[in-house]
Symmetry: C2
Subunit: 882 residues, 2 copies
C-alpha cells in the first residue's frame, strides 16, 4: 500500500499508461485527450482503487490518499497561478465528478464550482468583471454541495429561485439580477445552517473532502445499484473521481456549453450531432432544465470556435476509432473539451457506425462485431408502427426523437405506477415533466417514455437509448402535472389510463393504438449478422414450443431447435382429459390405452414442428413436470366433479390421487425421468409419436428430420439406461414398420448436480448433453426460482449476489459443474454433442462462458437468436485472444 499511487494528474496518468480500470472511463479519456493535445481544463484523477480503499477504511479517505489529493491541488494552483480558496487574484474553482470504468450516465454524483466562498466570489468578480456570473456560480455551488455532498433534497432551495422568477415574471434563470442572486446566496446559507446546525463550510479543502467522499458514496446509491445490476457491472469495480479546473460557460454571451456526438447517436449517420446552450453551465443541459439550441447557433455566434470545435471532434473520433460523446465549454471565446467517451447509441446506429467504420478502414470486422452490445439487438427485432397506418393518424404532440422504436400503452405518471401496472400485465407509457434517475424503475417497465422538458442528451433520452426503449423528449407543448395526473396539450386533457402511441424515431405521439409491422432484418443488421456468423464457433439454436416459435427461430437464423417441451402438448383441450384419465388409471394397460388416445395429437404436433423448423435438428424433451400439474387443485371441486363424471369414476378417487401426487417440493419431486421409471409407457408413447412424425415430415420435406430425444433430470447411468431402453424399444418398434431407417439421437439434460458429477458415466449412454441451467442453478445454489424473490433482494442490497443467477450463469458455482460435466462427458465420448437450453443460453455474459468451456451450441428463445449469434462471435473473438 505504501507505494501504491492513488492520485494521478491527467498528464501523469497518460505517461504511466494507467488503464481504464484504474482511472475510470472519464479519467482515461482525459489522459488520452492530454496525449492527443486537446485543450482541456487541467486536473487529476483519484483512482477506482482509492474508492475500494475508501470503503475498506470504513468510508473514510485514508490520510496518505488525502495528502496526495492536496499535493495535486497545489500543483494545479502552481501551474495555473490560481488560488484554491482564494487570496491571490483569480481563485481556483474545480469540478468533482465520478467516472466509473464503464459509463453510468447520470447514476452518480457531480459537484461543480467547488472552492467557492464569500472571498472567492468577490475575487471572481474582480478577475472577470462579471458580477452576475460570479454570484450565480456561487449560488449553484451552495445548492449542489447541500444537495449532493450533504445529501439534502434540493426542493426548498429550488423553490426560492422559482419564487424570485415568478414574482418578477422571469422565464429564464439568466434574467435573475445580481442583487437577487446575492439575496439567494444569503438565503441558501441560512437554510443550510437551519438544516445542519452549522455554518456553510468556507474551507475549500473541507469542501473537497466532502465532495470526493460523496462521489465515492454515490457508487453505492440505490439508482447506481439498480443500473449496475441491469448492466452486469460488478460492485467491486468502484468509481474514480476526477477533480478538474472549472471553466465557465456562463460568463456571458461569448460563453456557453454543450454536448457533441461525432456521429448521430440515434441513426448513426456520419455528421456531427451537437447542441449549444449559450451562457450556461453543463448541468443545465444534462438536467434538461433548459432546452439547448442547435449547434448552428455556435457557428453563427463564433465561427472560429466552431471551426476548431469540428476539427477537434473529427480528430478525436480518429484517435479513439469510435463515435465520441463529448462535453465542451466555451469560456469567453476559448474552447475547452471537458470529457470524451465512446458514445452511447441506439441499436440501429451502433450497427451503422460499426459498418461505416469498417468501410472507412478504421476498424476490422472483428472489432466491428465487438462494438455492438448484443442485448441492443432486441430493439431491432420487435415490430415498428405500420407506416401506412401511422399516416392515417395525426400526432397530437411532437418532441425530440430521443430513442427510436415504437410503443403503445396506457398513460401513467409515476415510476411506481409503471411498475405496478406492468406487473399486472398492462402496457404503459410513462409521461413525465422531466425524468430523474429515480425514474429508472419506471422506464424499465414501460413501453415508451414521453417527457415535456429536456433535449436529446437529457437523462430520459440517454437512459432510454441505453435500454432500447422508445422515447420522445422535450415535448414543450405538453403540460404534465404529475400530482393531478394529467397531461394537457392545448385544450385537450389526457388522464391516467388513456391509450397513446409513441414513435421514438420521428418524435411523434398519437392518440390511441397504431398497428405494428415486423422488423427489417436486412441492411446493416444483416451485414453484422453475417460477420457474427463468420467469426463465431458456437452454433445457435432456439427453444420452440410451437410451430410459430419455430418459424420465428428460422427467420432469426437459428440452426435447429434446442428444446421443444412436450408438456404443453398434453395440456391442450383435445387431450387433457385423456392425460387425466392416464394419471387416474390403476393399471399399465389403462394408462397405455389413455396415452394411445393422445398419440395421434402428439404426432401431429411434432409433425408441424418439424415442418416449421429452421433446420433438421429438433431436440424434443420428454415429459418433465410433475403429474399433479395436469390435475386441478384439491379445492377445485367443480373441476374435480367434472373429471369424475367424464371419466366415470368417483370424486373421491380423483381427490385421493390429487392428494397422493401432492409434492412438498415439486421442483425436487416426482417429475422428469422419474415419471418414466414409474410409468415407462408415457415415454414410450412420446417416442413413438416423435418417430411417426419424423417419417411423415421427412417424406414431405424431402430431407431427413433428425429428432434428438431428450431425457430430463437424469442423475445416474442406470436411470438413463432404463429410460433410453424404453425410448429405443418404442422407436425400433415403429421403425420396423417402415422400409427405411431414420437417424435419431437419445441424450439427456444435465440439470441436477449429480448428473454433472456423473457425466463421465452418463456419456456412455447419451449421444448429447443439454444443460438445463434453470434447474441446475436451483439445485446447485439451493434456492428455488419461485421463492428466491423473498430473499434475493436482501442479497443484492448486501452485495452478496449482484445479479440474478437464473439470467446469467453463476460461473463460480453452477459454472464449475458445467465445466466438470463437459470435461467428464468428453473424456468418455469425445464426439459428445453438448449444448445449453436454460434461460442463460441467451445471455451474452453466459455465452462468453459457454464458448470458453467448449459447448457446441446454445439454445435460447427465438427473439434472442440474433443476440446470441453476435454474443457468440464476440466470445469467440475474445476467448481466442486470451
Amino acid at each position: 500500500m505504501a507505494n501504491k499511487k492513488y492520485v494521478y494528474s491527467f498528464k501523469e496518468a497518460h505517461q504511466a499508461k494507467v488503464g481504464k480500470e484504474i482511472l475510470g472511463g472519464k479519467g482515461f479519456g482525459l489522459a488520452e485527450m492530454t496525449a492527443a493535445g486537446i485543450n482541456i481544463p487541467q486536473g487529476f484523477t483519484v483512482t477506482t482503487e482509492a474508492c475500494t480503499l475508501y470503503y475498506k477504511s470504513g468510508k473514510r479517505i485514508p490520510d496518505d490518499v488525502w495528502e496526495d489529493i492536496v499535493a495535486h491541488v497545489h500543483e494545479i494552483e502552481k501551474n495555473s497561478g490560481k488560488s484554491f480558496g482564494g487570496g491571490k487574484g483569480m481563485p481556483l474553482l474545480v469540478s468533482v465528478r465520478s467516472g466509473a470504468r464503464q459509463s453510468m450516465p447520470g447514476m452518480m454524483d457531480t459537484i461543480l464550482n467547488l472552492g467557492s466562498n464569500d472571498k472567492t466570489v468577490e475575487e471572481l468578480v474582480a478577475a472577470t468583471g462579471n458580477e452576475r456570473f460570479a454570484w450565480d456560480s456561487y449560488r449553484r455551488f451552495i445548492l449542489m454541495f447541500t444537495n449532493i455532498a450533504k445529501g439534502h433534497p434540493r426542493t426548498a432551495m429550488d423553490a426560492m429561485l422559482d419564487k424570485i422568477k415568478e414574482e418578477n415574471g422571469y422565464k429564464l434563470d439568466t434574467e435573475v439580477t445580481v442583487p437577487q442572486l446575492k439575496e439567494l446566496v444569503k438565503a441558501y446559507k441560512e437554510y443550510y445552517k437551519s438544516v445542519f446546525g452549522e455554518e456553510f463550510p468556507t474551507d475549500p479543502y473541507e469542501q473537497l473532502r466532502e465532495a470526493v467522499s460523496a462521489v465515492f458514496r454515490s457508487w453505492d446509491n440505490p439508482r447506481a445499484n439498480v443500473y449496475r445490476q441491469m448492466n452486469g457491472i460488478p460492485y467491486e469495480w468502484g468509481t474514480a473521481v476526477n477533480v478538474q479546473t472549472m471553466v465557465f460557460g456562463n460568463m456571458g454571451e461569448d460563453s456557453g456549453t454543450g454536448v457533441a456526438f461525432s456521429r448521430d447517436p440515434s441513426t448513426g449517420e456520419k455528421h456531427i450531432y451537437a447542441e449549444f446552450l449559450p451562457n450556461a453551465q453543463g448541468e443545465d443541459v444534462v438536467a434538461g432544465v433548459r432546452t439547448p439550441l442547435h449547434i448552428d447557433e455556435l457557428q453563427k455566434r463564433m465561427p472560429e470556435v466552431y471551426k476548431q470545435f469540428t476539427e477537434t471532434i473529427v480528430k478525436m473520433e480518429k484517435y479513439f476509432r469510435d463515435m465520441q460523446d463529448m462535453e465542451y465549454t466555451v469560456e469567453k471565446g476559448t474552447l475547452y473539451f471537458l470529457q470524451t467517451r465512446n458514445g452511447k447509441r441506439t441499436a440501429r446506429s451502433a450497427l451503422k457506425i460499426a459498418c461505416d467504420l469498417v468501410d472507412e478502414g478504421l476498424i476490422t470486422e472483428e472489432e466491428a462485431v465487438c462494438r455492438v452490445e448484443p442485448k441492443q439487438l432486441n430493439d431491432l427485432l420487435h415490430p415498428t408502427f405500420d407506416k401506412a397506418e401511422e399516416k392515417k393518424h395525426t400526432p397530437f404532440l411532437r418532441g425530440l426523437p430521443a430513442s427510436p422504436g415504437a410503443g403503445t400503452g396506457h398513460i401513467v405518471f409515476t415510476a411506481e405506477e409503471c411498475k405496478q401496472q406492468h406487473d399486472n400485465g398492462v402496457n404503459v407509457v410513462l409521461c413525465r415533466a422531466e425524468t430523474s434517475p429515480e425514474d429508472i424503475i419506471g422506464m424499465v417497465n414501460s413501453e415508451a417514455i414521453v417527457t415535456a422538458r429536456g433535449g436529446m442528451t437529457s437523462h430520459a433520452a440517454v437512459v432510454a437509448r441505453s435500454m432500447g426503449k422508445c422515447c420522445v423528449a422535450g415535448c414543450t407543448a405538453a403540460i404534465i402535472n404529475e400530482e393531478a395526473k394529467t397531461m394537457t396539450v392545448g385544450d385537450k386533457v389526457y388522464h391516467e389510463g388513456d391509450v397513446i402511441s409513441v414513435d421514438g424515431s420521428t418524435g411523434e405521439v398519437f392518440d390511441g393504438e397504431i398497428k405494428m409491422v415486423p422488423a427489417d432484418l436486412g441492411g446493416d443488421f444483416g451485414r453484422m449478422m453475417a460477420w457474427a456468423d463468420k467469426y463465431r464457433r458456437l452454433k445457435i439454436r432456439a427453444n420452440c414450443n410451437t410451430p410459430e416459435d419455430a418459424a420465428n427461430a428460422a427467420r432469426f437464423g437459428a440452426e435447429g431447435i434446442g428444446l421443444c417441451r412436450t408438456e404443453r402438448m398434453f395440456f391442450a383441450e383435445d387431450r387433457i382429459l385423456n392425460m387425466r384419465s392416464m394419471i387416474l388409471s390403476d393399471t399399465t394397460e389403462q394408462r397405455e390405452a389413455a396415452l394411445e388416445r393422445i398419440r395421434p395429437f402428439l404426432m401431429d404436433d411434432f409433425y408441424k414442428m418439424y415442418k416449421s423448423c429452421p433446420d433438421n435438428m429438433v431436440n424434443i424433451r420428454l415429459l418433465d413436470p410433475p403429474l399433479h400439474e395436469f390435475l386441478p387443485t384439491i379445492n377445485d371441486t367443480k373441476n374435480i366433479a367434472d373429471i369424475a363424471e367424464k371419466l366415470g369414476i368417483s370424486e373421491q378417487k380423483v381427490k385421493d390421487r390429487i392428494n397422493q401426487l401432492q409434492q412438498a417440493n415439486p421442483m425436487m419431486g416426482f417429475r422428469g425421468v422419474r415419471l418414466c421409471v414409474a410409468y415407462p409407457e408415457i415415454y414410450a408413447v412420446l417416442a413413438t409419436a416423435i418417430i411417426q412424425a419424423a417419417y411423415k415430415a421427412s417424406a414431405e420435406l424431402g430431407k431427413a428430420v433428425e429428432p434428438e430425444i431428450m431425457i430430463p433430470l437424469t442423475g445416474e447411468l442406470k436411470e438413463l439406461k432404463f429410460a433410453k431402453n424404453v425410448v429405443v424399444k418404442a422407436v425400433e418398434a415403429e421403425m420396423a414398420k417402415h422400409d427405411s431407417k431414420l437417424v435419431y439421437h437419445v441424450g439427456t439434460m444435465i440439470e441436477i448436480p449429480r448428473g454433472a458429477l456423473q457425466a463421465g458415466n452418463l456419456a456412455k449412454e447419451a449421444e448429447f448433453f443439454s444443460f438445463g441451467t434453470n434447474d441446475l442453478t436451483q439445485l446447485t445454489m439451493g434456492f428455488s426460482r419461485d421463492d428466491a424473490g423473498q430473499f434475493l433482494p436482501f442479497y443484492y442490497d448486501n452485495k452478496i449476489y449482484e445479479f440474478d443467477p437464473f439470467q446469467t450463469i453463476d460461473v463460480e458455482g453452477v459454472g464449475e459443474l458445467v465445466k466438470i460435466a463437459v470435461e467428464r462427458g468428453r473424456a468418455t465420448k469425445p464426439e459428445l454433442l453438448i449444448g445449453v437450453c436454460g434461460e442463460t443460453g441467451g445471455d451474452p455474459a453466459s455465452i462468453m462462458f459457454y464458448d470458453k468451456v467448449g459447448l457446441d451450441y446454445v439454445s435460447c428463445s427465438p427473439f434472442r437468436v440474433p443476440l446470441a449469434r453476435l454474443a457468440a462471435a464476440q466470445a469467440a473473438i475474445v476467448n481466442k485472444t486470451k
Copy 2:
C-alpha cells in the same frame, strides 16, 4: 469371456484360490472344508459371475457355461461311480443351492434330490434296500421342483400329503407308508401335468438347467430384494449356485440331519450348540416343520459319530477362527458336513465371542473389533424388562429363546397388519404358526415375534437374530389360527389387539405390559467399546436438541455435541408468541424487541445443554427452517384469530404475512443463512444467548464451554462473511461485559452443492465445516426427502438405486462433493475442523467413507453413538490396511 472359468469343483476352487466374491460364501466354505480335509459330499460351484452373465444374456445360461456344468456333473459321476439320471447301479442325486457372497438365510432357493425320476427311484431302492426313503426323496423332489424351479405354489401338493396323514391319523411324515408315497408321487405328477400341460421332466439335465436358472432368478425375488436393501448388499454381486451330491438323512434311524453352531449363537457361550432330527432331510429343520431334538440324542444313538462330530466342529472353528454355523447329515452312520459359514449371532453373543476369541489368542483386538456388526449394538442399548417387574408376572407361554431382548405390543397375525399398525404408530407383536420369508416385512415392523413351531434355526429365529428383534420360537403350547385371528393357549383365547410382553432372552411370553429398565453398558460391551476407542481415528459426537439427549449422549460415550438445532427452542409455548410477533413485525426495532423477549429463554436452554453435555464442545446451529413454519397455515382461522388478538393486529395482516411467506419449494426457500441476510437480528440474539449461557455454565462447571456457532445453508463467501460478522459483533459485545474472554468458533454447514464447490473460499472465514448430508443429498440428487417416497420404490424395483441415500451416503454423487469440499477446505486451512451431522453420520457404511476422506468427526443421534464408535474403529482398521 472365452477363457473365463465359470464353474469350479470344490477342489479346483481351493487350488485356484478363488475368492468368496466369486464362489459365494457357501462355495467358499466348501472349498475350504475340502482343504481342511472335512468329509463333505462332492460337487461344484457355478460362480457369481455366471449369475451376472445369466442376467446379461436375457435370463439364459450361456452355452459354454452350461457345457462346463455338464462336464462337472460327468466328473462327479466318474469319481463317485454313480450315474446322473440312473442307468448304472446307484443313481446320482444332487442338491442345487444358492450361495451369495454374504449369507442371506432363507432368501433364495434350494432344490434337493435333483436327478430323480421313475428309473432312479427304483435303482435307489435296489442300491439302498430302503424303499420308503427312495420314494420319499422322489416325492420331495417333485414338490420342490414344481414349487421352486417352476414357481408354482405348493399349497395343493401339501394338502395331498396332509389329507393322507389326516385320514390315517398320522402325526409324523415318517408314518406315511410306501404305497401311500407311491400314490402321492403319482398324484403330484398328474397335478404337474394339469398345471403345466406337459409331463414332469425325467431328463436330469433338463431338471438341472431349470434348477440352476431358478436359483439365479431367486436372486431377484422380492424377499431377496428387501433383504438386500435392508442389509446394504449390492444387486450386482449376484449369487453362486452350488451343485452337490445328495447325502440322505432320511435313510432310516441310523440317519438324520441337523444344524450345529460351534458356540451358542444366542449367548455366545463356549459350547457346541446343535440340534438333531433323526431320519429327516435338512429342509425339515430349516422350515421349522418338525421341531428337532437336542444334540444329546445323537450322542445317545451314535456315540462314535457324535465324537467325530464334536471334533470336526472344534477343528473347523479353529480353521476359520470364528464361530461356525454348519449343516450336517448322517447317512447310515456316516457323517457329512454339507456347509459351514460364520454363524449369525445376537449382539450380546457377538460381543462375547469376539472377546473370548481374543482371550483364547485366536484373533487380535483389531479382528475382534471387525467381528461385530455395528448395527447390532442397537439391540443392547434399549431397555430390557425390569427383572423385578417381570418376576411378578407368570408367563402364560414358553418357547425357545430364539432372539434376545424384550418387546411389548398388541397381537397381530399377519405381516400386512404388522406393517399397517406400525405405520399408525402402534407397537405390535407378530404371532405366527411359523414364519416364512414372506413375513419379513412384518418382522421388520414388530416389537417381537412369537411362533408356535420351529427351532432355534427356524426361519423366524435366524431372521429375528439378524435384525436384533426379540423372538420366541417353537411355542408348542400355542395354537395360532391366522384365519380366525386367534392364539389359543390351553383354554384361553387371545385375539388381535390383546397386549402381550415377550422376553426373547428367556423364551417367556406374558400377559399385558411389563416395565422396562435401561441397558447394561459394561462387561463385553464395555471392553469392545474400549477397543473401538483405541483403534478409531474419527471422533464421535451426538446430535442433541434437549438436555436429555445430551445426557444420553454422555452415557453412550459421545465426545461433544455435533449439532444442536435451535428451532425447537422457538416453538416452546413460552416463546412462540414472541417469535410470531417477530415475524409479523414491520421494522427492525420491533423484531429486535420481540427477540429480546425470547432471549432469556434461549439463554436458559443453552445453559442447560452445556450442563448436560458430554464434553465442552457444543455445536449450535443458528435458526434454519423457513419462517412460515412458525405460523399457522392459512386455513387455520382459529389460530390466526388468536394470534391477531394477542398481538393486537388485524387478522388480515396475519394472513398477508402467511401468504407472503408461502414457499413453492420450502427446502430451497427462504431459510438458513438467508434469514440472517434478511433479518440479522435473529442470529445476533441467538449468538448473544449462546455466549451468555456459556459464561454462566463455564463458571458453574469450572471448565470452559467452547461453543461452536454454526451457520446453515451457506453457499458463498460473502454470505458467510455477512452472517459471521453479525455473530461476531454480537459475541464481542457480550464479551465486552465480562472480565475474561471465552473461546468460541464460527463455522458453517456444507449442505448445498455450491457450498461444497466453494469450500476453498468458505474456509477463509469458517473455523469448521459440518456436512448436512440430508440437504446435500436432496440438492445433489435433485430429490426432496418428503417426495422421494412417490418414486424411489420404482427405483428400487428397477435396481436404479438400491438403498436410501438419506440413510447411507451416495458415494458416487454426494460423496464426491464431500471429497471436493474436504480437499478444498483443507487446502485453504489445513487445521479446518470437519465433521458430518446428517442422518448418515450414524451409518456404518457412510462412516467407512467419512474415515477414508479424512473427516475429523461424525455426529449422530445419541443412541447411535456406540455403533458409530465401533464403525469408526472398523473403518480405521480397514482403511489403514487398504
